[in-house]
């Protein structure tokens, strides 16, 4: 374990971020010399520069991807019903088998096979087997790298969600989007760097914990964006005031603040606060433009399924995600599924009802997103991640019905774009898809791969906290999944 930057940059960042009375330009200048900021440009006219904590920073190495869209299939989609084709299961519906499982129903040693209710066909040049749940997405398999051997530390939603988003089953750590913004900054100061879009049925279990910046400062926390109505909380000026009169208010505010600053000229926090109001005013103007889908052609809207009520919501969010990454947003996470039970992919009672619903809502939009990014030349720079907090068991949860319990011993996620190989499948589960057996991959490796593709070294990106250099991937070194990297 190396601690080479323990007393250097990291520690200074820590001091700077804690604030704690560390006023003054001096420290800022020191950090600039350290290369902590490589762009500090945002000054209100005639005032010292505002050092935006989200100013862009150099990556550790040349990045394949400049943005990441994480399509979060909340609840846990079933691998054997989607992308992890198990011919051995066919014709064995209701057979009792010896198989070790662990879900919300606890540990079991045997179960009743639920044969997948969908037909599988081969697609693309790679000949990938995909179930009928994803007729549109299946056409894109040559752009996708499937990871079939995923494992996670928990098969329980609360802790598993935290693991997938923050790398730990204990709450309190920053999420991937916070790490990316901490490591890279944002390309567009007029938009938040980390955006989350939720399913209209509700948030996921643990809610805002899933997009918290944990022990990092609030500068790195996510902004929840709505695809309809006012996109960001408190973004719009009050109607009775309007933008022009608000500008008047801000001008006066600035005059008072500038006067106040005169006798405190060395205090960069005061100057930063003045500049932050200009930035906020710009956000008010830019964010609504970014979410204005009316600017898109009918053909594009149709590509994402906006013309069909079933796919319109997720489609709109995918289209928004594209518009946001085009404008420099670093990390966008979209939740398919919300609230509890069948409102998300958590198919405990009826696989068919549940997965037909959620796959039906997302299949065309995701395929549309991949196609649209590709036709605009953006796919090569945008990393797409698809998956839930775990998968599902091959066997039934109850004596009757097709529902499956949670499974963190083996499940499937996939990535595409952003320097990821297309048309490949990594790792394997056993013949029932119950557990990863070959090239087992852990959530940490998936995180390492995301960071690596974004230009960051997962074993170097650290944040000093509680006596330790904390990392998204934990203290042990973790390798990205090189086999799926182009």
């Amino acid at each position: 374990m190396t601690n080479h930057n323990f007393c250097g940059r990291t520690r200074r960042e820590f001091l700077w971020q804690t604030g704690a009375g560390f006023t003054g330009t001096a420290l800022t200048a020191m950090l600039s010399q350290d290369g902590f900021f490589n762009s500090t440009a945002h000054a209100a006219e005639g005032l010292p520069e505002f050092v935006n904590p989200l100013a862009p920073k150099d990556p550790h190495h040349d990045a394949d991807a400049t943005a990441c869209i994480f399509l979060y299939m909340y609840g846990g989609p079933s691998q054997v019903d989607t992308f992890d084709y198990k011919p051995d299961m066919m014709g064995r519906d209701n057979q009792t088998v010896q198989v070790k499982t662990f879900g919300r129903g606890g540990h079991r040693n045997e179960g009743r096979i639920v044969e997948p209710r969908w037909k599988f066909k081969q697609y693309g040049e790679c000949g990938k087997w995909v179930s009928d749940l994803f007729p549109h997405l299946a056409e894109k398999v040559d752009d996708i790298a499937f990871i079939h051997s995923m494992t996670a530390d928990s098969p329980i939603h609360g802790s598993a969600m935290l693991m997938m988003n923050s790398g730990k089953i204990l709450s309190g750590s920053p999420c991937i989007g916070s790490w990316l913004n901490y490591g890279l900054g944002t390309m567009n100061e007029n938009l938040p760097g980390f955006v989350v879009m939720l399913d209209p049925r509700g948030g996921p279990i643990s809610g805002p914990k899933n997009w918290s910046s944990g022990y990092m400062p609030a500068s790195y926390q996510a902004t929840v964006m709505r695809s309809q109505g006012n996109p960001i909380l408190d973004l719009a000026p009050p109607a009775e005031l309007g933008t022009k009169a608000q500008r008047e208010l801000l001008n006066t505010l600035r005059e008072y603040n500038t006067e106040h600053l005169k006798s405190r000229h060395d205090n960069s926090n005061l100057a930063a606060r003045i500049a932050s109001y200009e930035l906020a005013f710009n956000m008010q103007a830019h964010a609504p433009e970014a979410v204005d889908i009316a600017q898109e052609t009918t053909a594009t809207q149709t590509l994402y399924g906006l013309d069909d009520p079933k796919t319109a919501t997720f489609g709109r969010q995918c289209l928004l995600a594209r518009r946001l990454v085009e404008r420099g947003v670093r990390f966008v996470q979209i939740y398919s599924g919300g609230a509890h039970n069948d409102d998300n992919w958590d198919a405990h009672s009826d696989m068919e009802f549940n997965h037909n619903l959620h796959a039906g809502e997302t299949d065309k939009p995701i395929a549309g997103l991949l196609a649209d990014l590709k036709q605009r030349g953006l796919l090569s720079k945008t990393l797409i991640v698809w998956g839930g907090e775990f998968g599902r068991q091959p066997t039934a949860e109850y004596a009757k019905g097709t529902g499956r319990d949670h499974n963190s011993y083996g499940f499937t996620t996939w990535m595409a774009g952003g320097g990821i190989k297309g048309g490949v499948s990594y790792g394997q589960t056993d013949e029932l898809g119950s557990a990863a057996v070959q090239n087992r991959a852990h959530v940490k490796q998936m995180h390492a791969t995301i960071l690596h593709q974004m230009g960051l070294d997962p074993n170097r990106l650290s944040y000093f906290f509680s006596g330790l250099d904390q990392k998204l991937v934990g203290v042990e070194e973790v390798e990205p999944l090189h086999e799926i990297i182009a």
């Binding site: 003054g24 530390d153 709450s171 509700g202 809610g207 008047e248 208010l249 109001y277 006596g467």
Partner: protein, 829 residues
């Protein structure tokens, strides 16, 4: 399972061939080279090959195998079948290789090889320096500045004796004189009183108080004001917040349900009361760590042990034992950082990388808590069983017993009614329904299915009704209000505490006894189980040691916090880390002098407050000074007072105070719920769950009374860097970001409060615009505005009304909103 069977076939097949063999026979070596080495090279050597030793283990030679790694020798020549290596490849303890279990043939080969004595080249014995550079416990590290006993230093002699009001000034001035610096001139009365008032109460001063001090800024008046403020009950409400940050105070458990912690607010009230009293800090320590073990039962002390229950709790843990040790780690980490400034949590899996804290010290420290009961098992009832105790008086107990008996009877009667109806239905059940009926929760469904057939429809509805009442009642047993969230133990005998190898509860190592960190040259703990037989007395021993004047860290850590709370920054800027890599103190002698003074005055916070507040060091201005800035840009030497931004709670409380609507009357009790926008609630999986509606009066109470829900934070507070409550927070961030500006300009809360401010301004100032501007600025800034400032406000007014066609009342509202956004309001000099 099929594949499992095949493993066994191969295994036993080969095992049959095993014969006693020379450990390093040429035959064995050949087997190694042709069969074993390729497997090791392909699957193991990336982490455990030549010169590599992940987990301390290298497999590059036989001696290295026998030396082993963190989990001991890899092979056991006496009992080959019990070798760690074989456990690992069979996924019994570790799971190796991590990428997936080896094919059964390869497992069989490795098994045979180990059984035959693991022939391979001897290789080197030198372990590849597993813990290179880890600080050791030795005379040098024992002599680290914060690990030494506290000895009161001499107060330095200085030239400018006229500047020295008390020894603090002498220590500070001595550094100035050495550095060729001069302290700033005294702060003007208005900024000083604003600083003092926020410092002690977290609230803006009244204009009258400012004017009183401006009229007479004598030392006597200043000291009288300090006394008034320290005597105010609102002082504790402000200072408690600092301590609550340090002890990760939150009122819910996190995770899926994130349910509220019952009676947790009593701990918050206890802390408020402590800061409002002048009881010693040593008592405060003992109450929190061992109040339940006091010889004389005290509900205050019992409530104080709620300290242990403030952390995360996963009511649905993946691994219950792991969850227990995570809980223990929370106690070790929080206790060592909060009271001792040691990050002992870093030594859970291995020796501390930066401090002389061996892993053994971690487990010896954890042993003090080993016998405590985990927060709960799963249900609310389990939480009540493990973590809730009565603090009722005998009279209250008696009343509650009656209530409980009535509840028992009522539930019993309802159940009897259900049983009777079910007994009549039972003979009619057919086939699968008989099974279903075994399950109580299925009975209503079955009975409903046959409504009108087995039972008349009305009776089915009656049954359903009774069932609902019974169920509701059963799930809500009466709970006495006179209860507290507190620590409990399993009894007077603790189970053994093991060092956990690499922090894994699946790999217990040596047994350790409770002991204090060796590097502090501590005494042995004196452990005596209390007479009540309910606990081990271990925590009392811990508390006695922490609260002892012989402890080198406790007083230093606390006086540093108090300094930080007054000046915004500690003499040690890493207040939870006084270790080797923590920040060195800017004024070590002053720190030690304050620590000695603190202990000699009965660990009195009041005494320290008074010393600090009456010093010249506290009273100087915050203005810049070019010469000093050049020499000491970061103000290490305290040549000026650092400006600071209001904390999140101060900001909200001030906004309410300035429009006269802050409810200061109501103190204590269950927490309150200000309005959270529905857009924010939509992020919850059950929007609005566990976020209640408080009365309008309650919504205007101080921020310290706001319910702290781990997965949902009031946006204004979150934006202004309220502490993340999952772990101890010694210093808050003070970020500046555009989202703060958006909240301050556009949020419903600010708009509502700006309107209220406009209303009171209108009331006080009447219709005259200049008077309105003056009154608004007075309220927000606690001073008389200058004529230029009034003029600037009038221009804004004029343009809003004439250019932008706002009505006069609306223009006033937005002038008030503007005022609430001023840097001068949000920053203190």
């Amino acid at each position: 399972m099929r594949c499992a069977l095949s493993i066994f076939t191969v295994f036993f097949g080969l095992a049959g061939l095993v014969r006693a063999a020379d450990p390093v026979s040429s035959e064995g070596l050949k087997f190694y080279e042709t069969e074993v080495l390729p497997i090791l090279q392909q699957h193991c050597y990336k982490c455990h090959g030549e010169g590599k030793n992940k987990g301390g283990l290298s497999l590059a030679g036989r001696k290295l195998l026998l030396t082993g790694g963190d989990s001991g020798p890899a092979i056991n020549p006496e009992k080959p079948a019990e070798s760690v290596l074989l456990d690992a490849i069979n996924f019994r303890s570790f799971e190796m290789p991590p990428a997936g279990k080896l094919p059964p043939e390869q497992i069989a080969i490795l098994t045979k090889w180990v059984e035959l004595g693991a022939s391979m080249p001897e290789g080197t014995t030198a372990p590849a320096t597993p813990h290179h550079g880890v600080p050791q416990v030795n005379e040098e590290t024992k002599n680290h500045w914060s690990f030494r006993r506290i000895v009161r230093p001499e107060v330095p002699t200085v030239d400018r004796t006229d500047w020295v009001r008390n020894p603090i000034d002498a220590f500070i001035l001595a550094k100035f004189e050495a550095a060729g610096l001069s302290p700033n001139p005294p702060a003007l009365p208005q900024p000083l009183i604003r600083r003092l008032h926020y410092d002690l109460l977290g609230l803006p001063p009244s204009l009258e108080l400012v004017q009183r001090f401006e009229a007479d800024d004598s030392d006597a008046t200043y000291q009288a004001i300090i006394r008034e403020l320290l005597d105010s009950p609102h002082h504790g409400e402000h200072y408690a917040r600092y301590w609550l940050d340090v002890v990760r105070y939150a009122e819910s458990n996190s995770y899926e349900r994130d349910n509220p912690k019952p009676f947790v607010w009593r701990y918050r009230d206890y802390v408020i009361d402590f800061f409002n009293s002048d009881r010693g800090y040593d008592e405060f320590i003992k109450e929190q760590l061992a109040g339940d073990e006091f010889a004389e039962r005290s509900s205050r002390a019992l409530i104080a042990t709620g300290y242990y229950r403030l952390g995360l709790w996963d009511d649905e843990p993946v691994d219950a034992e792991l969850a227990f040790y995570d809980g223990l780690d929370d106690l070790v980490g929080t206790t060592s950082q909060a009271f001792l400034g040691l990050t002992m949590n870093c030594a859970r899996c291995h020796d501390h990388k930066l401090d002389p804290l061996p892993q053994k010290d971690y487990y010896s420290f954890a042993a003090f808590f080993r016998n405590t009961r985990h927060y709960g098992q799963r249900s609310d009832d389990s939480v009540y069983a493990a973590s809730i105790r009565s603090i009722a008086t005998p009279e209250e107990e008696a009343m509650f017993a009656v209530e409980k008996q009535q509840w028992d009877e009522r539930v019993g009667t309802l159940r009897k009614q259900l049983d009777e109806i079910e007994a009549r239905v039972r003979p009619m059940l057919q086939g699968g329904e008989k099974d279903d009926f075994e399950n109580d929760s299925q009975r209503l469904r079955v009975i409903r299915k046959h409504a009108g057939e087995w039972l008349p429809r009305e009776e089915v509805e009656t049954y359903a009704q009774i069932r609902k009442t019974w169920n509701d009642l059963r799930n809500h047993p009466p709970r006495s209000g006179a209860q507290a969230l507190c620590i409990t133990e399993h009894g007077p005998q603790a189970p053994a505490t093991h060092v956990l190898i690499r922090g894994s509860h699946k790999a217990p190592g040596d047994v350790v006894e409770p002991a204090f960190p060796v590097v502090l040259s501590p005494p042995s703990p004196h452990i005596q189980p209390p007479a009540n037989g309910q606990s081990t007395g271990r925590r009392t021993a811990l508390a006695e040691w922490i609260a002892s004047p012989q402890n080198p860290l406790t007083a230093r850590v606390m006086v540093n916090r108090i300094w930080q709370w007054h000046f915004g920054r500690g003499l040690v800027t890493s207040p939870n880390d006084f270790g080797l890599k923590g920040e060195a103190p800017s004024h070590p002698e002053l720190l030690d002098w304050l620590a000695a003074e603190f202990m000699e005055h009965g660990w009195s916070l009041r005494h320290l407050h008074h010393l600090i507040l009456t010093s010249n060091t506290y009273r100087i201005s915050s203005a810049p000074n070019d010469e000093a800035l050049a020499k000491d840009p970061q103000n290490h030497l305290f040549w000026r007072f650092d400006m600071r931004r209001l904390r999140a709670e101060e900001l909200r409380d001030s906004i309410l105070a300035e429009n006269d609507s802050l409810n200061l009357e109501t103190m204590y009790g269950p927490s309150i719920y200000p309005t959270i926008e529905k857009e924010v609630l939509a992020g919850q999986s059950q929007p609005g769950r566990n976020w209640e509606q408080s009365s309008p009066d309650d919504k205007r109470r101080r921020s310290i009374y706001i319910h702290i829900k781990r997965s949902l934070t009031v946006p204004l507070l979150a934006n202004f860097d309220v502490a993340e409550a999952d772990v101890t927070c010694p210093v808050r961030f003070a970020t500046t970001q555009p989202t703060q500006a958006l909240t301050m300009l556009n949020s419903a809360f600010l708009l509502e409060e700006a309107q209220r401010l406009a209303d009171v301004v209108q009331q006080d100032a009447g219709d005259d615009r200049a008077s309105q501007v003056t009154e608004a600025l007075r309220r927000v800034l606690q001073r008389e505005p200058t004529s230029e400032e009034i003029q600037r406000g009038l221009i804004m007014f004029d343009r809003l009304v004439n250019l932008h066609q706002l009505t006069r009342p609306v223009a006033l509202k937005y002038f008030c909103l503007m005022a609430l956004n001023l840097n001068e309001f949000v920053y203190l000099d």
